[in-house]
């Protein structure tokens, strides 16, 4: 942490009496992080882009074209659909849960739900897949007790996967939206009531507009989480449901036609494009919500 020592005084106007030192000295503390990210994140990204646009040692878009056809395209669309369903469902459910918790008078309940959310939001991956397989899988406890299999239930399907993904998406939404709900000042509600607004009008004209950026931000976050999820799907459904992450893993581990090795990289590039588009919506929104909630 020694890096900050020479850096920080430059930014303290009281001490430097005007701050006319070169601004760049203040960056020293951030340099190790920037260098690390450039190395650990930049190089793989460059390698990925290079590989995605190289076929047989020459620059080409053949990989990209291949990644947008046939089974690969199906997988990409499947991933986007699943993520959209999970994001919207998770956002709605998470907001209601958060509101129920925020307005509750029991501090213990609030603490418990937030703590649980913190854990469950990170409870993705393999353990989640196994917990649900044990519950609703083909030989799961509920499946056998309630004979769900005879009614055509299968966890290893699009909706089964959506149900499982909600398990970490809803808590994530709670974590995202609770600070925003806390940021709704009681004064705003009192002012609205004094002006004769009904509860519905308050939400329609004050609450929802203030919350919208956080809500949409949450939707985007959930979309990203579901879109990128690999472990849960891999441990649960194998390749029954076509998902782009499963295709990439397949290609990376060698289950791919000769000459298509770089298709995995092209698919990764597609994923980054989708995720990047979504993030381009998220960042401005977050800035907007921060303006109101600080």
């Amino acid at each position: 942490m020694a890096e900050t020592h020479p850096a920080a005084p430059a930014g303290l106007p009281v001490r430097t009496g005007g701050g006319n030192r070169p601004r760049s000295t203040g960056w020293t503390g951030a340099l190790p992080l920037l260098a690390f990210v450039a190395l650990a994140f930049g190089i793989p990204t460059v390698a990925l882009l290079g590989g995605a646009f190289t076929a047989d040692g020459a620059p080409s878009t053949a990989n990209l074209t291949a990644s947008l056809q046939g089974a690969y395209l199906t997988a990409l669309i499947g991933s986007v659909k699943l993520s959209a369903v999970v994001a919207i469902g998770g956002a709605v459910a998470g907001t209601f849960l958060a509101q129920a918790v925020v307005t509750s008078r029991f501090r213990a309940l609030r603490e418990a739900v937030l703590t649980a959310s913190g854990v469950l939001a990170n409870f993705g991956g393999v353990p989640l897949a196994f917990a649900w397989t044990a519950t609703l899988g083909n030989s799961g406890v509920l499946t056998t007790r309630l004979a769900l299999g005879e009614h055509g239930w299968s966890l290893y399907s699009f909706w089964g996967l959506a149900l499982v993904y909600l398990y970490f998406s809803v808590p994530l939404m709670v974590l995202v939206v609770v600070p925003a709900l806390d940021g709704l000042r009681p004064q705003w509600r009192e002012a609205a009531q004094n002006n004769g607004a009904s509860a519905w009008q308050f939400w329609r004209y004050v609450g929802i507009p203030v919350l919208t950026p956080s809500l949409l931000g949450g939707v985007v976050l959930l979309f990203g989480g579901a879109f990128a999820a690999y472990a849960t799907a891999a441990a649960m459904v194998g390749t029954v449901v076509p998902l782009v992450t499963l295709q990439i893993a397949d290609a990376l581990t060698g289950n791919v036609l000769i000459g298509h090795e770089n298709v995995a990289l092209a698919l990764s590039f597609d994923m980054i494009m989708v995720a990047g588009l979504v993030m381009a919506v998220y960042l401005p929104l977050q800035r907007r919500s921060a303006r109101w909630l600080r």
């Binding site: 951030a30 709605v92 854990v119 991956g125 393999v126 519950t135 809803v170 990203g224 472990a231």
Partner: protein, 293 residues
């Protein structure tokens, strides 16, 4: 949860000290809140309870705790768990050493760098881990192909040491950045860093003193949650480790699931309980210290 729509407008009222005549609404709010919480409890508790039932209920022999007793003697359990814990410790140290100075510098002297830092620390969320692995494995494949004659080759070999794959630490630090950034940002936002630092400096404190005795104690909660999130991330990380061919804890669980389903579910429950315990310890430690200072 669509039928619960009316809960949002109604549920907000009690916080605003409802005037007389609104008591019917208050009661309705309580009912909706109960329904929401009950539904959530049902959804979130069912898998936990049923997976426990799954592990202790043998179709032939009835109730049995074998699945839990076998865990510790299972081949590879200790080894993979120790590997995961070691990776987690290394990742936490590295990520905090990198992020904290950067964030302090941004707060104190380079506010213009803030958007850059924000973007850098959000990027790992944009780039899904699996694409990140695709990039890493491409780079690692360069090793034998292009770099064999250069000193970089030794580095590439060294970071892939199976006993302690540093390449995983590097990847995990990148993956943890968004979470650590957010925790520390919230922590730093709650204290007036500039005033604290100026006050301490005016009283003659040296910079290490300011950091260790002023900033870090005030940041305990933020540092604790950053560490916890990182720990949880590393203990649960499957994608990167699996595709790079290492066997920390989560990969091990999948490996044994083929031969022993009950035990793999038992281990899953175990890892969740462990994470829960950890969070409780950290959050109580954080609040106690905060209220004590």
């Amino acid at each position: 949860m669509a039928p619960l729509t009316p809960a949002v407008p109604a549920a907000a009222v009690p916080a605003a000290a409802p005037p007389a005549g609104r008591q019917g609404r208050a009661r309705r709010v309580r009912v909706w809140r109960g329904v929401v919480l009950a539904a959530a409890a049902l959804y979130f508790l069912t898998p936990l309870i049923t997976s426990f039932v799954f592990t202790v209920n043998d179709p032939v022999r009835g109730f049995t705790l074998d699945a839990y007793l076998e865990i510790f003697s299972a081949e590879g359990f200790v080894q993979s768990l120790l590997l995961s814990l070691g990776l987690a410790a290394a990742t936490i140290v590295v990520v905090l050493l990198l992020t904290l100075p950067a964030m302090l510098a941004v707060r104190l002297s380079a506010p213009r760098l803030r958007p850059v830092l924000e973007v850098i620390c959000t990027l790992p969320l944009v780039v899904p881990p699996i694409t990140f692995v695709a990039g890493i494995s491409t780079v690692l494949r360069w090793g034998p192909d292009h770099l064999a004659a250069t000193p970089f080759y030794q580095t590439i070999i060294a970071v892939q040491n199976p006993a302690f794959p540093a390449v995983l630490v590097i990847a995990y630090v990148v993956l943890a950045l968004p979470f650590v950034y957010r925790s520390l940002d919230a922590g730093l936002g709650a204290i007036d860093v500039r005033t604290l630092v100026e006050a301490a400096r005016n009283c003659g404190a040296s910079w290490p003193h300011v950091l260790l005795r002023v900033i870090i104690p005030n940041l305990r909660a933020g540092l604790a949650s950053a560490s916890f999130l990182t720990l949880a991330l590393v203990l649960g990380e499957y994608t990167v480790a699996r595709l790079l061919g290492y066997q920390p804890f989560p990969v091990w669980i999948v490996t044994i699931s083929g031969s022993n389903a009950a035990m793999s579910v038992a281990v899953s429950i175990f890892s969740l309980l462990f994470a829960w315990l950890l969070l409780l310890v950290l959050s109580t430690a954080g609040t106690r210290k905060r209220s004590g200072s």
